[in-house]
């Protein structure tokens, strides 16, 4: 039993804290949000130089062989700094799936990811799927020496800037089956693929994709036909775990911002931080955040587990708990800031919006509570 970070992990954390403070101020971030790309290519290149993009990729594939704890450290800092770059999409999901399933040729493309030269997006969710990981209605049919794919993929995070999509499609079975799902690496300019890009509520970018008989070659298939379910599920679990750490980073930053505000803001001649009802609210926020931090640790620790049932229990426990805690902390941070909590010009509303989006990505509270709760009567 040991909760300490390694020396390397502490160094990683320190580096990212310095990076945030130096290169990612709030005003700079606002400009990035307004830019066409929506994030900083400079920052992305720095991620590459710092080794963040190679971090969880196995050493055999040119990565640093880091684990989910390392990713959690990065994600917590991404949360604190509200960093906009597509780290989760490219590194955790995209590279993670290629590393898990790819042929050696496909794996070799991970070097470009590590170098900052390739960005990926997972096109998996579908209308009506809500958060069911196996609700895939998009169809891929073998034709000659390739595949024809048709379907609708919704809210594909970071799609507008990706140079390759990983698209899930059903090659057999029915909607909801774990088996029969295949993954395909697809170029954005593939004929038959159209994209509707948009911003997200937290100022990032996403898109809906339509595939109308989009044709891809046989080399687009990632892994064996119909076998992607388990790897996909683990990738989604890893993404949920990563969001847990990001949320905890945000929650601690929000607590700090709120404490600072209560110390500064005066009403009736005294700092509002002297009012006991608000003091107890802060105490409740800190308690929630400490508990959420424990759950994020648990999620990160189990995200690399291969056993889907045990892993899923822990990931869902954490995401359900943290979505709830983040909702409380986010709403209360806004409330305690009063009018200043609901305006665009302070960072507090941006943290709040990011928490709101996190709660709707890779399974919301109800989805994960359901998954966890079902495991109780099965046990």
């Amino acid at each position: 039993m040991d909760f300490r970070y390694t020396d390397e992990q502490r160094a990683l954390q320190d580096t990212l804290e310095r990076f945030r403070a130096r290169d990612y101020g709030f005003e700079h971030r606002r400009e990035l949000i307004r830019s066409a790309l929506g994030y900083s290519l400079d920052a992305w290149n720095q991620y590459a130089e710092l080794g963040l993009l190679a971090l969880p990729i196995a050493e055999a594939h040119g990565g640093l062989g880091g684990n989910a704890i390392d990713v959690a450290i990065v994600m917590e800092q991404i949360g604190k700094g509200l960093l906009l770059e597509p780290y989760l999409s490219t590194v955790v999901l995209g590279a993670g799936l290629i590393a898990a399933l790819g042929s050696s040729e496909q794996q070799s493309s991970l070097e470009a990811v590590a170098a900052g030269n390739s960005q990926l997006a997972l096109a998996h969710g579908e209308p009506g799927a809500r958060f069911d990981p196996f609700h895939v209605e998009t169809r891929a049919t073998a034709l000659n020496d390739g595949w024809v794919i048709s379907g609708h993929k919704c809210v594909v995070l970071d799609a507008p800037s990706a140079d390759r999509f990983i698209v899930s499609a059903r090659t057999s079975g029915s909607t909801g089956d774990e088996s029969g799902i295949s993954l395909f690496l697809i170029d954005p300019d593939t004929a038959g693929l159209s994209m509707r890009a948009y911003a997200t509520q937290d100022g990032r970018r996403a898109a809906d994709l339509r595939l109308h008989s989009a044709r891809v070659g046989s080399d687009a298939l990632l892994g064996r036909v119909g076998d992607a379910g388990p790897a996909l599920l683990q990738a989604l679990d890893k993404a949920a775990a990563a969001l847990c750490s990001e949320a905890v980073g945000i929650m601690s930053a929000l607590n700090q911002a709120t404490v600072d505000y209560l110390d500064t803001r005066k009403q009736f001649g005294t700092p509002i931080g002297s009012f006991q009802a608000l003091r107890h609210r802060i105490a409740d926020m800190l308690i929630s955040t400490e508990q959420a931090r424990s759950m994020a640790i648990l999620a990160a620790y189990h995200a690399d587990d291969r056993d889907a049932a045990g892993r899923g229990r822990m990931i869902s426990a954490a995401k359900a708990y943290i979505d709830q805690a983040a909702r409380f902390v986010g709403q209360q941070a806004v409330q305690l800031h009063g009018g200043m909590g609901v305006v665009d010009e302070l960072v507090v509303s941006h943290y709040f919006k990011r928490l709101t989006v996190i709660a709707h990505c890779f399974g919301d509270q109800d989805h994960h509570l359901d998954r966890y709760s079902r495991s109780l009567s099965a046990a």
Binding site: H152, V155, H360, D366
Partner: protein, 402 residues
């Protein structure tokens, strides 16, 4: 005890409903229903229609052109209004300024301003809060210095809702800095066209422009625009705040929002079935519906109580706290019902003329674009009009003493 509306009240409801069905323009109704971006024009058009009907000021006494409706009739009117998707009347004009003018304004002020409010010729905004003076309003710093038959106003107001559309602003200003904070405040009516006034937008967390800062630099206001007596403004301010809290529960709007939530939950799908059949989500709807059922009765009890009971601050504070919590809870469930589609932010979809994107059309319902922003926006309801913490202070004060 009779929880049914009387036959007369039911007749009245029918009359209101028929009027709304006949006269509410379809384009206004649809914008309300879909949560499109706020259009000042909708409020003005609708007010003119009400005025033409003779219903320009349902909440006012007959002496000032109101209809003399009972509180229950006013409640029914608002419920039907919300159900039909008609805009509410401007609270700053009707619920805040007008009662102050009626009680403390000069006959000239009453005769000039009140009819113009009813006819939608004037649009009033509120100059109360300042940076640094929110809940502690009496600490306000904007000054009005008497120079002959004018006041010269300098300072800054903030959180001025819809101020970008207003041609008049009512302000609390400091006319005496030598006395206790509450004793040196006056209540001024200021034409927004006066030189020296600057309105600056404040962007809200949903990215929309709804509130403003208003700056005053040597703004000359005729002394005729003083309401009541100089340095008695705090009395009028407190009177106004009392009126601000009438109908603060927003039952009609919340009932309409709850119906919309159920519609959304019937349309969205989970596991191949309507979301409303998911017991966990349905329980969440049920919980907020119970709160709303209770608050509706609490509100009606307050309306039906005699005037003395109704004035009790505890009831108004309960209506404010619970009313805002319910609004927020419904908006949150509406957003959650969207699942992943809570994430996109399409501000262009809030424009009246926007039509759904062909690529997303089938999946992304017409109600979807407004919901997350609405959730974000409504965080304000537990903050404004006396934050819920202030309301609980009031309840405790009235119960426990100080």
């Amino acid at each position: 005890m009779d929880l049914n509306f009387s036959a007369d009240e039911e007749t009245f409801r029918l009359e209101v409903r028929q009027f709304l069905a006949r006269h509410l323009p379809a384009d206004i109704r649809d914008r309300q229903r879909l949560g499109k971006r706020y259009l000042a024009e909708d409020t003005i058009r609708w007010q003119k229609i009400l005025h033409a009907q003779g219903w320009g000021a349902p909440t006012w006494p007959t002496a000032f052109g109101g209809m003399g409706w009972t509180p229950v009739q006013q409640y029914i009117f608002d419920e039907e209004r919300a159900a039909a998707g008609a805009p509410g009347q401007l609270p700053f004009s009707f619920k805040m300024l007008a009662p102050v003018l009626m009680a403390f304004g000069s006959p000239a002020q009453q005769q000039y301003f009140l009819p113009r409010i009813m006819a939608a010729e004037d649009w009033w905004c509120q100059g109360y809060s300042e940076p640094g003076s929110g809940s502690d309003l009496a600490s306000l710093k904007t000054t009005a210095r008497r120079e002959g038959d004018h006041y010269v106003v300098n300072g800054q107001k903030t959180w001025t809702t819809l101020g970008q559309f207003a041609n008049w602003i009512f302000c609390l200003v400091r006319t005496n800095g030598e006395v206790r904070a509450q004793q040196g405040i006056s209540f001024l009516l200021i034409d927004m066209a006066t030189p020296g006034i600057t309105v600056r937008p404040i962007v809200m967390l949903d990215g929309e422009h709804e509130i403003n800062e208003v700056w005053f630099e040597n703004v000359r206001v005729p002394v005729d625009n003083l309401v009541g007596e100089e340095n008695k403004g705090w009395t009028y301010a407190k009177f106004l705040l009392g009126h601000e809290r009438t109908n603060i529960a927003g039952i009609g709007d919340s009932k309409a929002a709850l119906r919309k939530l159920k519609k959304i939950a019937s349309q969205e799908r989970a596991g191949g079935r309507p979301l409303i059949e998911n017991a966990r989500f349905r329980d969440r709807i049920a919980q907020v519906e119970l709160e709303l059922m209770a608050l509706e009765i609490t509100n009606l009890r307050a309306l039906c109580a005699d005037a003395h009971d109704r004035a009790s601050g505890i009831q108004a504070s309960i209506l404010k706290v619970k009313g805002s919590e319910i609004q927020q809870a419904i908006a949150e469930l509406q957003m959650q019902a969207l699942g992943p589609y809570a994430v996109p932010h399409l501000p262009e979809a809030l424009d009246a003329q926007w039509r759904a994107d062909p690529l997303m059309q089938q999946a992304y319902a017409d109600y979807a674009p407004a919901l997350t922003g609405h959730y974000l926006n409504l965080r304000k309801t537990s903050i404004y009009a006396g934050s819920n913490e202030i309301q609980k202070n009031i309840i405790a004060q009235l119960t426990l003493g100080s």
